[in-house]
């Protein structure tokens, strides 16, 4: 049984545009590469590339200070890499950052926490340990969560994570 299906890049881009996202701050992610390509091709949302996820967190915070509405696009490995900046900027700094996190290599027939690979399996427990709300985007029916995530982040004054369950198409 499949629990996650690919979301077309256009569907996700429409969701980002519908949520009023102005900038995608990203470290390239194999899992979401079709979305990255579409964002860069269309130019409807500014694409800002960083060399590390630490930088992506800080750049996004600065964009918010300047009045923009960014979203971070990273991979699960990047989540593990930038925990201190998430703590220092997003949690302690109370920035309403929304993350799109690709679960590269997920066995989509299983829930992430039931996967063998630690990259996929540990993402949700890590977010839980940081008290960061998270939601799975396991198909096109879930993209309404993008807009809701921004509302949730603003209301709580802190980060919210959206986990892209299957590779975008």
């Amino acid at each position: 049984m499949t629990t996650a299906e690919p979301i077309p890049a256009q569907t996700l881009l429409d969701a980002l545009l519908g949520a009023g996202v102005t900038d995608v701050v990203a470290v390239p992610d194999t899992h979401q590469r079709s979305l990255i390509s579409l964002i860069q091709e269309t130019g409807e949302i500014r694409f800002i590339q960083t060399t590390t996820e630490d930088e992506a967190v800080a750049v996004s915070a600065g964009l918010i200070v300047g009045g923009r509405k960014p979203i971070l696009q990273i991979q699960h490995a990047g989540l593990y890499a930038c925990v201190n900046n998430i703590r220092g900027v997003a949690l302690d700094g109370e920035f309403p950052l929304v993350f799109l996190i690709g679960l590269l290599g997920r066995d989509v027939s299983k829930a992430p926490t039931e996967n063998f690979g630690s990259m996929v399996r540990l993402a949700q427990p890590l977010l839980d340990s940081l008290s960061i709300p998270h939601h799975l985007l396991d198909g096109s029916d879930d993209v309404g969560l993008v807009d809701q995530a921004f509302d949730e982040a603003t209301q709580r004054g802190g980060p919210v994570a959206l986990l892209v369950g299957a590779e975008t198409s």
């Binding site: 600065g62 300047g66 900027v89």
Partner: protein, 196 residues
């Protein structure tokens, strides 16, 4: 050159810039020239320049200065590449190079004596880089550097100031962090003065 003499030079030019400061420059800078456009980088060492980059990309009409440390920048050297790639035009990145991790007891920076942040920024693709060890020369050239197309990196060779960090008592209750208290005011100040 001392840290404080360099800060005095910068403070005399303070206008409507957003200034992101970190580590040992933070307190002395805010005492000299703090305004409601001062952002602080506390608790995420190495993030000052990319926090400022975000502001610069959001508000290209507003000059952004970064008051960075050598140990801090060393923690996130890739940020030089990210900033060069983004190429913010009004972005001045000032690195206080005192050669030590001052707040933790003045342990020497790795490769101290050989490392050059100006050279690394030039290699990353900054529009202009320069290095000073004399405050008079820094003062004499600063106006031109502030007017130059960015990103500009200014490396200041300074003496350690003996700013050992002595933490206060641990927090005993839920209080807002320093950054959470700081950034909304900067956001509001910028929003009150929108780009024309």
């Amino acid at each position: 050159m001392t840290r404080d003499s360099a800060l005095d030079v910068l403070a005399r030019r303070r206008g409507d810039e957003v200034v992101v400061s970190t580590m040992t420059a933070l307190g002395p800078w805010r005492e000299r020239a703090g305004t409601d456009r001062d952002l602080i980088c506390v608790g995420f060492m190495g993030g000052a320049s990319t926090l400022g980059l975000g502001v610069a990309l959001a508000r290209p009409d507003v000059p952004v200065w970064i008051l960075d440390g050598d140990g801090s920048l060393s923690m996130q050297l890739g940020s030089l590449v990210t900033i060069a790639n983004a190429a913010p035009a009004k972005f001045v990145h000032i690195v206080f190079h005192n050669g030590v991790y001052e707040t933790s007891g003045a342990q020497p920076l790795p490769a101290e004596g050989r490392v050059s942040f100006a050279a690394m920024a030039e290699g990353a693709g900054y529009a202009k880089t320069v290095r000073f060890d004399d405050v008079e020369a820094f003062d004499a050239e600063l106006d031109d550097l502030l007017d130059a197309d960015g990103p500009v990196l200014i490396e200041l060779i300074t003496q350690p100031a003996g700013a050992f960090y002595q933490p206060g008592p641990p927090p005993t209750g839920r209080t807002k962090g320093a950054l959470a208290r700081n950034w909304p005011g900067v956001r509001d100040a910028l929003a009150a003065d929108p780009a024309s």
